[in-house]
Amino acid sequence: MPPSEKIANAAANEIKRYFGEYAGKLYLEHYLKQQPHLVFVSLEELLTEAIGPEKAASIVSEVKKQTNEQGKKV
């Protein structure tokens, strides 16, 4: 799986955690082929609405870290 898809999948999982399966699926449909920075921006924007800016920023940085580490392992 290309790194950008991994990032989109990881972000979609976070969307699923807060907004459910269907929202996660819609998110993935749109962002699967997008640039990683767009994925992160949209993820932070959506999560901010649900959980506030600080928490959203910490989740996004967690996803970045995770996907970056996975990328290195590959």
Partner: protein
């Protein structure tokens, strides 16, 4: 929907308060009371329809829906025993249903808190103070009135066991309230604060009503009118929880609509 919920809840409570018959033990106010636990079951199911029945987001809500369904089942069984079969419903299968509800509510809150790793968060010292004081007062009242005094009662062993188990269940409610306060602080800048805030407030009212019942149980069972209005606190406990679940559905609908608008398939 939200307004409708409050209307139904408020009307139910008012009807209960002003019940023409005067005695809340009669069939009509008791039937009105059944509507209250039905509200969080209905709104919870609607919430799960949009969240999906499986997955991490659904897990706590599923547990809460089961919990409120068990409360509803308990109320229905109680109603059947009392008005249909004319048998004293305590202790009965209704109590089993009520008592089974508490762990599900507890699990609903705990699974959400675990998901957020709330236990790892550093809380402000004042919040620790408030939580500890509230927790100790509530647990103290429940342990003394709900467990200790009840264990000394002259009832049959089964009745005593059921009464004491209610006391233990109230400790679970206290813990849910404390978790609810922590989660409300955790989500304070997002829309989820409304969801978990209302849910925690709903459980808080159930706990307040339970404690009020413990303190006035003799007068309550004797049918003293104003003491029986503790039922109104129970009713609003269910209405607030239902409101939290409505807020959750609204939030997810809003986000889903936004994602649908940009989704390639919707174009």
């Amino acid at each position: 929907m939200k307004v409708l919920l409050f209307l139904i809840g408020s009307l139910g409570a008012i009807a209960y308060l002003t019940s023409v018959v005067g005695s809340p033990d009669s069939a009509i106010p008791s039937f009105i009371y059944l509507l209250a636990p039905f509200l969080p079951v209905l709104t919870g199911i609607r919430c799960l329809q949009i969240l999906g029945w499986r997955g991490e987001a659904a897990r706590p809500i599923r547990s809460l829906v089961i919990g409120y369904f068990l409360f509803l089942l308990g109320e229905i069984l109680w109603y059947i025993w009392e008005f249909g079969l004319d048998i004293d419903p305590f202790p009965s299968m209704a109590d089993l249903a009520f008592l089974s509800a508490y762990p599900f509510l507890f699990w609903g809150f705990i699974s959400q808190a675990r998901e957020e790793r709330v236990a790892n968060k550093k809380l402000p010292i004042w919040l620790w103070g408030v939580l500890t004081t509230l927790g100790l007062v509530a647990i103290g009242l429940v342990v003394y009135f709900g467990i200790y005094l009840r264990s000394l009662s002259q009832e049959t062993w089964l009745s005593t066991l059921v009464l004491v188990t209610y006391g233990i269940a109230d400790i679970l409610l206290t813990m849910i309230c404390l978790i609810g306060i922590v989660m409300t602080v955790e989500y304070r800048k997002g829309l989820l604060v409304k969801v978990w805030g209302w849910l925690a407030a709903g459980v808080g009212l159930l706990l307040i009503a339970d404690i009020a019942f413990l303190l006035t149980s003799k007068r309550y069972l004797a049918g003293e009118w104003w003491v029986r209005q503790i039922d109104v606190i129970w009713i609003f406990g269910y209405v607030l929880a239902a409101n939290g679940l409505v807020e959750y559905r609204r939030m997810v609908e809003k986000i889903t609509a936004r994602l649908k608008a940009i989704s390639p398939k919707s174009k």
